[in-house]
Symmetry: C2
DNA sequence: GCGACAGTTAGCCCTTGCGCTAACTGTCGC
DNA sequence: GCGACAGTTAGCGCAAGGGCTAACTGTCGC
């Protein structure tokens, strides 16, 4: 659970950049090499590599190097952390609206 | 749609900080004043205010000042942008697995 | 073996983000 | 009116983020 939020932080940080979100999106369609990915973005390869490293170190993708080409694949379960967080938000919200309902259906607690 | 992704960017940036996520979570239970919120975090008020401003300028919360107290309320629909993005990821993924199925069920395309 | 090719490392620049203190503004309550 | 109280503004320091170039490493293909 402590790890949970530490990871969550990294995931949100990783997704807070449009380039990296685009990579995630692209990898949703299947694995790709760093070079293939990089070609779609207006930046140099070293710059692009930093994004790849960020995504990898935050667990959103995994990469394997075979020969001279490094292949990236999406690690889909990591996106689950975001889904879980959103679900928790929804739960909190629903608990709240439940309390509000109780409030209005128990008018003796409500001076007015 | 252009606005969509511009906003999306801001939302992810805003959520990429644990303090701000905690504020969102807290506001899920109902509105609160800046001071009340700030009291839960180990930082000075001016520092905390920056987070509030970030959340507000990215549309995750709305704030109203009445007298000397500023009240913050969650703008729940903004979280919907994240949900939409995740849903899109899922859709892309599912399209992909559909294609994979086609592939294995059409073995004449597959040398081996 | 040698050139081309894919990726990597090192180092730089500049901007942004996040924290702080100090000092100020405006409102409340007596 | 005056002190306390809630928030605000200004400005500073430092670390991290995202881009670049230049130069290097290791693999492939002929």
């Amino acid at each position: 659970m402590a790890q949970y939020s530490a990871h969550l932080d990294g995931v949100f940080v990783a997704l807070a950049d449009p380039t990296r979100r685009a990579v995630v999106r692209r990898l949703g369609r299947g694995p790709a090499s760093v070079g293939d990915l990089a070609r779609e973005f207006p930046m140099t390869l070293p710059s692009f590599m930093k994004h790849v490293r960020t995504l990898e170190s935050n667990g959103l993708i995994r990469t394997v190097k075979s020969g001279r080409v490094r292949t990236c694949v999406l690690n889909r379960e990591r996106l689950g952390l975001v889904e879980d967080w959103l679900a928790e938000q929804r739960r909190i919200w629903e608990e709240r609206t439940d309390r509000l309902e109780q409030f209005v259906t128990a008018p003796e607690e409500n001076p007015q």
